[in-house]
Symmetry: D2
Subunit: 401 residues, 4 copies
């Protein structure tokens, strides 16, 4: 056993930390304020593009991609600490071109895309020139059970025809969003996991309509946003199907493993940030003649947060290591474990940080409310906590059956 | 012991329920949608005023006020179930002229206001013609410890001069908000609880400036809102001081007892609403071949929510009964108990309801996110949970010292 | 609403408190020590019988029985606070002839027993001359689902023949235990709730064999104890069946309502005792230069215990009131609620008290370990917590179906 | 990072597992039954000594000791999984000569003992011929704050004189217990951490009196036991002081790091055992027409137990690795973290296992009650949870001061 990060990881980690501290944090302080005061929050604040260029030229770009020609060539284990570091910031993931859902979409295109699909979409995504969205969840059914899916992607001759309604399509509000990955039912009579297809849909295709943007706790996450999108007789050449009809599930499964590592590590970063703010505030503020840190159960809460974060990080790193060593299938229980565990944990730690910050913690004067909304939303995105708990239990009980 | 509500209470309760169901709920469904789509959310939606008039003529008006000449003349025990009922709705408290902070401000004026003060401010407040705000919390210090307060209300001859900065002044964004109650330090050399004064401040007074409106989780609670307000050399006749200089603490204490009953009962209503939505959704939605109600630990969560609500309601009702029988001082521990308990409880139950609603629960398609923000904010307003826990413990330990 | 106890209740409560304090507590201090050092712990310590006589002559006897000719004639609501008071002591319930399972057995005989049965068994039980046990739970099946029951009570001509194995028959080790109430399957073809019978079995009947006594956490609860009992071709006159064949379920249901009030109120008393010991110890002991009460989160834990006890007591009192007013069926959800809630709650509060007492809390130097074992066992007796949660959820969801 | 155990570790682990399964488990099933039925439980059951001999000849002996001449020469990281494996059994630690407090005492003698002390005590301890106890905790004061210690160890000429009263001296009841390590105050005027000494005390020394044995939840842990011991004018040659006067604290600190790894890993083994029993029982038992595993929230509890164990194990392994790499001082926060975390966690998981086992889980028919008592006791031994939480918080806050 060795709990030390690799040299390569440590090198990148140091550079990412310095970049965030020196280049991103000076802007971050006013990020939310500027966003709230903007005439049109659905525009990219101009310094973002400058920082992206700086990150790219510093070699801190596409760090998530294991292919060393297209990205940094880091394993999941080595990338994980970088994702944590980025998760402390609301904008760092985008600056390093490591933001969801673009990362997951790039991985799909990398692993399953045709040459043409890669050239048309993967290349500009890797360059950070365009953004993308992922259209899977539906408003009318419990989407945690994918067999409930009602949208259709039916092959008719040389075309595929899409119909249905999706929502919580994150990133669809971004001015540079050019392509959606749509998942729909192609063949209800096929084997259970071969019924669905994934289709690349240019945003401006006829029949695609963004019906509205959805708030999370009243916040729209501009300029990315979460959209409700209708697809009405959307016709595209069959070549837009990724990897061919019926492979939607297979692709979705492969997409999930590393994606959950990324999400969970970013949330661990968010929780660390919240704990850091908690400690600083608790030492600085005074009430009833003592620093807040010395009041009531605050120290115990700080200790428990530290312990929870340490453990959650180790479990996520072990999961990344398992994926690297033995693949996603071997890490199925662990992947479900971190998904069930960490968003909830991050929410709790951020909630406690708010409490120490008093009313300021609820407002946009700290990043806490924004981080809280991220964590809260991730308790539902990719399936609610409860679905993942059920999956962990299933695999536990299987050992005794 | 008798756990039956009084006849009078049951009569009002039935009428309030019918009014909400028949008159308010038809509008409520689109309330948040209309608010989000409004050009100017800081206006009162016109049907609100119509419903206020209807409530007034139905005799369902100022139900919170124990004086039977000016209000319904209900005891705290009898009003509590009405507050719960109103708490199920985002707009009912305003429709019945029972919304905070106006209720608390009316109580202050009723108990401590001079004839002139009552005529100028209490009368139009009771009529629902104007709205008010309460300016106590300050951005620069831990306001849970009132001795930290930095704003000043200094008597100079026949005038009182106000300086300082307040925030989280709820209701200050309302177009009808006309008066603020400001609390400030008058005499640092006086006995600890006789240093502060409360002053009535017309909104348009020179030197009063609303600096900005503050979001709670990104939501501004328009048209009421929470403001940051600066007071710079604000000069008013000394008659604007309520009950005379140095009585700020005394008034604040008296204001808190019934106000906490109201807040807690409304939150119990919110929690009941959330549980109701949970059950309905859990029976209606299907995943993995079963209604969501039959998945995982959902039934246990429903049972625990029911048990928690029942207990919290009983404790609040007992607290109301204690206040009615023996006064606020005798109920000090219980008042602190419900304050420490119920906002947190409501937050948890609403959070679980969100989980059962999936992503819809985070958006404005259900009232859950708005109710969550209310509950979350009340874990800090009037002092954070932890301050009230400390107060309960203090009184518990006192019995053994 | 009225949260005041009745005059009658307050009168008894005062007398019970004085009796416990002046007569029982002097012995209680050494009760566990004497028990552990006894040559034969399965004997009654002689002072117990003296105190029983004193209680009887003070009119503090059979307080649980609503019939004023045979007992105190108190309603459930009025008896509940007395049960709480007794629950603070390990021996008071027996001293006042209010100990389970005798109370439940007496109620069964009172409500369902024939004249003969009452004369033979109820009269000496009411006099405290004999003790009894209840044989329902079985080792081989999940007894929380009564349809699993395997023991049989088959009517053959004028006799009933019992076979099967029971365990956790509490009280069976007592030297005065003379009669068991046995529940068994009589007619598998009858309607689901008319298949079982309850039979009165003299302990010395042929075929009845106490196989062993069972410990709870290593403690045998002498002299009462929990036995595993086999019944092998036990033949008794059919008149030993209570209320006739097939009525076992009906009797069991009726037995449960008040019995759960008693158990829960005694546990609330135990929790109060634990909290009292916690506060006293936390003020008296010093570590790191402060009383333990001022360390870490101890005050918050004290406050939360206070809040939890207050709420649990109110819910139990309301349940008692509901039973008194509307009967057991109307209070079904509430009865399940307190059963699911209070044993667990008491366990937690006692566990915290142990923590404040350090290693002393684990030993027999305080009553905490014994109270802990009582609370822990009651999370399983009469059905585990989870069965009662399921019952609460079922009734909650029924409202929406 | 590498989450794979070393070859050496895996080799030992496989052999220990086989030994436990094939040699210990056949006896283990009746261990508690035999203990309860024994005329004198304070004797060693004879098969224990046979198994010790077998373990010794299999090279599975003194595995905890890092010195490869005297023990297995395993690092903390490599020994940790073996300790977990042993913790699944109530007797395995003793069989492999890896039981506390002997392990800690052997470490003390190994690191700090003189040649003579080692020859007289360490050698027979390493051979498993004698047992030992550790006398630190005192009944009269909060021993979590070591400065409270009242017992004295005063050097008078060539002798050291011991006075005081200790309790919870584990192992003192064992028939082979020959030596105690006593800690007492030698010089109140010395620097705070140089006031105390540790002294080796033969059990039969004049003035040493075992006053009584203490139960944990009614169980005496025979044949080891926990004793209360008085020391009255106990005179020993000054050579009995370990490492010289005033070094008690230094030795105690060094003893704690690895000892906590051992305790925590054994408890993780106990928790794994409880989870295994839970899953097996939950699949086998049926109620309400389903296996218990499919009732209520049982699957979620199983999943959460799995997640908690995984995380706790990783944190403990990382702590072991930190101690191996950087020493005890560098791992101070982590050592406190696992101590605060794991006993409580194990208690909860065992408690849930009891619940799934119904009443059987409370008795001695499963190892659960014994494992519960171990976990519960370890929440207090070596300082209560709360002291370790305070230590974690202190080090967390230090980063910001």
């Amino acid at each position: 056993m060795d709990f030390q990060h690799s040299e390569k990881c440590l090198d990148y980690l140091g550079r990412v930390e310095v970049f965030i501290e020196s280049k991103i944090e000076p802007y971050e302080a006013d990020y939310l304020k500027n966003l709230h005061e903007a005439d049109d929050p659905w525009q990219v604040q101009p310094w973002i593009e400058d920082l992206k260029a700086a990150a790219k030229s510093a070699g801190l770009w596409n760090l998530f991609l294991p292919d060393s020609k297209l990205g940094a060539g880091l394993s999941n284990t080595d990338y994980a600490p970088l994702a944590e570091c980025m998760g402390r910031s609301l904008v760092a993931p985008e600056v390093f071109n490591c933001n969801a859902p673009d990362t997951g979409n790039m991985e799909v295109l990398y692993h399953y895309g045709s040459k043409d699909q890669q050239q048309r979409w993967l290349t500009p995504l890797l360059r950070g020139e365009i953004r993308s969205a992922f259209c899977m969840t539906e408003p009318g059914v419990a989407s945690s059970d994918a067999t409930n899916m009602q949208a259709t992607a039916v092959v008719q001759g040389s075309e595929v025809v899409l119909n249905g309604r999706k929502w919580w399509s994150t990133g669809i509000g971004h001015p540079n969003c050019r392509v959606l990955i749509f998942m729909g039912l192609s063949d209800p009579s096929a084997a259970r996991h071969q019924r669905h297809s994934m289709v690349l849909v240019p945003v401006e295709t006829d029949g695609v309509s963004i019906e509205r943007m959805l708030p999370v706790f009243g916040e729209y996450d501009a300029p990315f946003g979460h959209g409700e999108v209708s697809f009405s007789q959307v016709r595209l050449p069959a070549e837009h199907i990724i990897a061919g009809p019926g492979r939607g599930f297979e692709i979705a499964q492969g997409r999930l493993g590393p994606g959950r590592i990324h999400h969970c590590m970013r949330l661990i970063g968010a929780a660390e940030k919240a704990l850091e703010l908690t400690c600083q505030r608790a030492l600085r503020r005074t009430a009833f003649g003592k620093p807040v840190a010395s009041l009531g159960g605050n120290r115990e809460r700080i200790a428990k947060a530290r312990m929870a974060i340490e453990q959650a990080r180790l479990l996520t790193l072990k999961t990344a290591w398992l994926i690297d060593r033995q693949g996603v299938a071997a890490a199925r229980s662990e992947i479900a474990q971190i998904k069930a565990l960490i968003p909830r944990l991050a929410q709790q730690i951020i909630d406690q940080a708010m409490q120490v910050h008093g009313a300021a913690g609820l407002s946009a004067d700290t990043p806490l409310a924004a981080l809280f909304a991220q964590a809260r939303a991730l308790r539902i995105a990719d399936g609610p906590d409860e679905v993942h708990l059920a999956s962990v239990a299933k695999q536990e009980l299987k050992r005794y059956q």
